[in-house]
Symmetry: C2
Subunit: 470 residues, 2 copies
C-alpha cells in the first residue's frame, strides 16, 4: 500500500480543494464566443497547475479553435507510457436561475462542491495533476512516463481534436490511454468502462412526383412519398421482438460472455430512476431477451434521428408531398463495421421501396465500436487501483454512446483506452447545480496516484502491448 502517497494526499487535501476552486472560477464556456478569452485564460491556468505539479514540459497547443494544454513527465524511456486525456472547457450554464449558487462562484454544501465544471471535467483533470504532484513530492518521480492532453473543445464536439492528435503525432505515442471524464455506475458500485458503441448513419430521401400534387385530384392513384417512407422505416424493425430486420445486421455481432451478462445482472439497476432520467418515459422497450443495460451497452440499435416531408406549418395543406426524408443512425457493437452496416441499411431501404417512388440513400461517415479487453494489463491495473480505494472491486461495464477521443486514439494512434472516472449519476453534468462529491474528488486523486504504480507493475515487463488495429 502506497502509504506515502495516501499520507501526502490526506495532508494536502484542503489545498487540493482550494486550488480546484480557483480553476472553477474561470467561465471557460467553449460554446459561446463571448467566453473565448476565458477559455484561453483557463488553458493558461491549467498549464500553470501542471507545471506546479511537476510536469517537465508544459505547452499551450493552439488549434483552429480553443487551445489545448499538453504536458509530459518522461521518467525513463524504458518505462510504460500513458496518455491521459481530459478537457478544460465547460458546458453553458442556462437556465441560470435554477442554480442555487452562481455557477462560477464555487460553493461547498453538504460535502459537495457546486460549480460548472466541478466534475465535468475540471475536477477530474485536477485529480490527475494532484496525483502526479503526490508522486513528485514524495518520491521525486513518476513510476511511468505520462503525457497529458487537456482539450478545450470537448463540449462543442471536439471539433479540432482529430486534427490536433494527427498534428502532434509521435509526441502522443503511448502504450495506453487513460480518460477521466466519466462516472461510476452508482455511489456504491465503482466501475470501469471498457466498451463504447460505434456509429453508422444514413440519410434516405424518397422521391415521388416532381412537385407537390393536389391530394384531391390525385389522391388514391399516386404513391405518397411520406406514406412510402413511413412504411420503409417501419419495415426496419420487428415490432414484436424489437430486433432490427435489416438482413445481415447482426452477422458480425460478438455477444457478451455469460460472465459479463451475469455481472450486468448483479448491478443495482433502477428502472424507475432510468425512466425518469430518460425524459420521464412511461415504459422502456427494446430487443427481446436483453435487459435495459444490455440493450444500451452490448446490443446494436437503429434509431430514426429525424424525419421530414410535405407541409409542417400551421393548419392544413392538402397535398401529396413530392418527397420525404429521414436521418437514421445505428449504434454498433464489436465487431460491426460502420461501412458494412451503412450499406446493409441502405440495401434494406432500397429493397423496401414501393412502386411509384424512388429512394436515394447516402451512407455517412461513422465510427467503429471500441472495446478494451477486460484482461488488458491497464484494465487490471485500474481495477486494482480503484478497488483498493473504494474497498470494492469495480464492475467492468460499457457505455452506449461514443467518446470521440477513444475512437481517435484507437484509429489515429493505435492505442486502447481505459475510462477511469469517479463522477456520480446525480452530479448534474450539463445541467444546473453541477457538483462533485468531495470524498470522490479525494478518492479519485488516490486512485490515480495508485494507478501509476499498478500500471508500472502490470506493464513494466511487456511494454508496447499489442496495439489496437489502426
Amino acid at each position: 500500500m502506497p502509504l506515502d502517497l495516501d499520507a501526502y494526499c490526506a495532508a494536502n487535501q484542503p489545498r487540493f480543494l482550494a486550488e480546484l476552486v480557483e480553476l472553477l472560477r474561470i467561465p471557460s464556456i467553449s460554446a459561446d464566443p463571448a467566453y473565448a478569452a476565458d477559455v484561453r485564460r483557463n488553458a493558461g491556468h491549467v498549464a500553470g497547475a501542471a507545471r506546479a505539479a511537476g510536469f517537465s514540459v508544459v505547452e499551450i497547443v493552439e488549434t483552429e479553435g480553443h487551445p489545448a494544454v499538453y504536458a509530459e513527465a518522461i521518467t525513463d524511456p524504458a518505462l510504460p507510457t500513458v496518455l491521459v486525456y481530459g478537457h478544460h472547457d465547460v458546458q453553458p450554464v442556462d437556465p441560470l436561475d435554477e442554480w442555487v449558487s452562481p455557477p462560477f462562484e464555487p460553493q461547498v454544501r453538504d460535502g459537495r462542491l457546486y460549480a460548472r465544471g466541478a466534475v465535468d471535467d475540471k475536477g477530474q483533470v485536477f485529480m490527475h495533476l494532484k496525483a502526479v504532484e503526490a508522486h513528485m513530492r514524495t518520491r521525486g518521480r513518476l513510476p511511468v512516463n505520462l503525457r497529458l492532453l487537456v482539450e478545450g473543445e470537448e463540449e462543442i464536439g471536439s471539433v479540432h481534436f482529430e486534427q490536433l492528435v494527427e498534428t502532434m503525432g509521435e509526441r502522443l505515442s503511448a502504450d495506453v490511454a487513460v480518460i477521466s471524464d466519466t462516472g461510476i455506475f452508482a455511489r456504491d458500485v465503482p466501475s470501469l468502462t471498457v466498451g463504447l458503441r460505434g456509429l453508422a448513419g444514413v440519410e434516405v430521401e424518397v422521391r415521388g412526383p416532381s412537385l407537390d400534387l393536389h391530394s384531391g385530384v390525385f389522391g388514391g392513384a399516386v404513391q405518397n412519398p411520406v406514406d412510402a417512407l413511413a412504411r420503409m422505416l417501419a419495415s426496419l424493425r420487428d415490432p414484436v421482438t424489437g430486433r432490427v430486420t435489416v438482413a445481415g445486421f447482426y452477422d458480425d455481432v460478438v455477444e457478451p460472455t455469460e460472465a459479463e451478462r451475469a455481472a450486468y445482472r448483479s448491478l443495482p439497476f433502477d428502472e424507475s430512476a432510468f425512466r425518469k432520467v430518460a425524459g420521464g418515459i412511461g415504459a422502456t422497450v427494446g430487443e427481446e431477451g436483453w435487459s435495459v443495460l444490455e440493450r444500451r451497452w452490448v446490443r446494436p440499435t437503429l434509431e430514426i434521428n429525424g424525419i421530414w416531408g410535405g407541409y409542417q406549418g400551421p393548419g392544413a395543406k392538402t397535398i401529396i408531398p413530392a418527397h420525404a426524408g429521414a436521418k437514421i443512425s445505428c449504434r454498433l457493437v464489436p465487431n460491426q463495421r460502420p461501412d458494412v452496416i451503412g450499406r446493409l441499411v441502405a440495401e434494406a431501404l432500397r429493397a423496401a421501396t414501393p412502386p411509384g417512388v424512388t429512394c436515394e440513400v447516402e451512407v455517412r461517415h461513422g465510427g467503429n465500436p471500441v472495446i478494451t479487453p477486460a484482461d488488458h494489463p491497464a484494465v487490471r491495473a485500474a481495477s486494482r487501483a480503484m478497488g483498493s480505494v473504494f474497498g470494492r472491486e469495480p464492475v467492468i461495464i460499457r457505455e452506449g454512446g461514443s467518446i470521440p477521443p477513444v475512437e481517435v486514439f484507437q484509429r489515429v494512434l493505435g492505442i486502447q483506452s481505459v475510462l477511469v472516472g469517479v463522477g456520480l449519476p446525480d452530479d448534474c453534468i450539463h445541467a444546473p447545480n453541477e457538483k462533485f462529491d468531495l470524498d470522490h474528488y479525494a478518492m479519485g486523486i488516490r486512485i490515480l496516484a495508485r494507478l501509476w504504480d499498478e500500471v508500472a507493475a502490470e506493464m513494466g515487463d511487456q511494454r508496447r502491448v499489442p496495439s489496437a488495429d489502426k
Copy 2:
C-alpha cells in the same frame, strides 16, 4: 333547335372575342397585393359587361378582401332560378420567361387565345355574359331567373366566399347552381361533373421523452417517437390491397352503380399522360379492384400531407427525438361524413400507439362529399344542352377534389350544383401559356344559351326541387 340564339352567336362571335380580349388585358392577380387595384378595376369591367349583356341589377359587392360582382336578371318569380358562379381573379404568371406571348397581351395563335385567365375563369364567365346577351337581344328576356356571382378571390382559396354568401343570404336563393370553372374530360369527350369528394383531416402528435435524448446513451431501451409514428402511419393502409385499414372507414361508402363504372371504363383514359401530369411518376398505385379514375373519383383515400420530427438540418444529430407529428387528410365519398371519419382515424392512431409514447390526435374541420344525382333535372338539362352542341352526349363524371363554392352552396344555401365547363386538359391553367380554344369559347356560349331553355323546360313545372340537406 334555338336557331335564333345560334345565329346571333355566330354573327357576333368576332365581337365576343374582342370583348374578352379587353378583359384579359387587366392583370387581376389576387395573390399579389401589388395588383389589388387591378382586381378592383377588373370587377368594374365585369360589372360593365354584365350591364351591357342585359342584367337588370349589377353591383360590386365588397368583401374583406377583393370585391365580387353580383348581377341578376329576374324574369318572372314563377320561373326557375339559377345561381351562376365564376371568378374574375387570375393566378400569378411566374415563370414569366416561359410565356410565348406576354400573359396580359392576349394573342390568337392557331385558333387559340393565349392569355392568363383565358379559360380560368374570365373566358368562361364571359360565356355566361354572352349567352345572356343572346337571349336578351333575340327574345328580350331570359327563360329563367338568373343570379350571377363572380368572385374575386378564387385563386387565393375563396377566403371570404362563405362570409359573402352568408351575408347575401336570400339574394342568392335559387333552385340550382351552375358553375363554369372546369373542363371536359378530353377534346372529344364532353363531360358534366356532378360529384366531388369531401375532406376530413387530423393532426397527430406522438410524444416520448420530455426532451431529445442521446441516442447512444439511451438508444435501444427507449421508444423512438418517429419510429412509433412511422409504424402507426404504416398501419393505416394494407400494403397489398391498398385499402385503408381504419376500422369502419368504408362503412358509409355508397359504391358507384355498375352503369357509372361502365361509363368510366368507356372513357379514353391515358395512363401515360396521367403519370406525366402527376409529376412524372413512374407508376400509379391504389386500391385493388378499382381503376385509376375510380380511385380518384369514387373511392375514399387517406393521405399523409406532412410529417416532422427530430433533426432536419444538415449533417447528423444522434438523438432520440422527444416528439414527432403528421398531418393526415382523407378524401371522402358519399355518404362518408368528415366528423365520423376524423374520429375513426383518430381511434385507429390511438389503438396503434406502442408502449413508451403517447399520442394526441386533433380532428380538423372538414367538408362533406357532394353529388348531384345524374337524374336531377338540371343535370338532364345541361346534358342536353352540351350534347346538342358537341354532337355527342356528355359523360357524367366526378372529380377527386373539392370546389369550395359547391360545398358552400350546398351547406349554406341548400342547393346543388352542376359543373358546366368547356376547358380542355391541355389549357395550361395555373401555368405559362394558358389558352382557350376559340371553338370551345364559341361552343360554350351556345351551350349556356341553350341551357336556360333546357332548364326552363325541365324545371319549369317542378320548381323548388328538393333541396340538398342543409
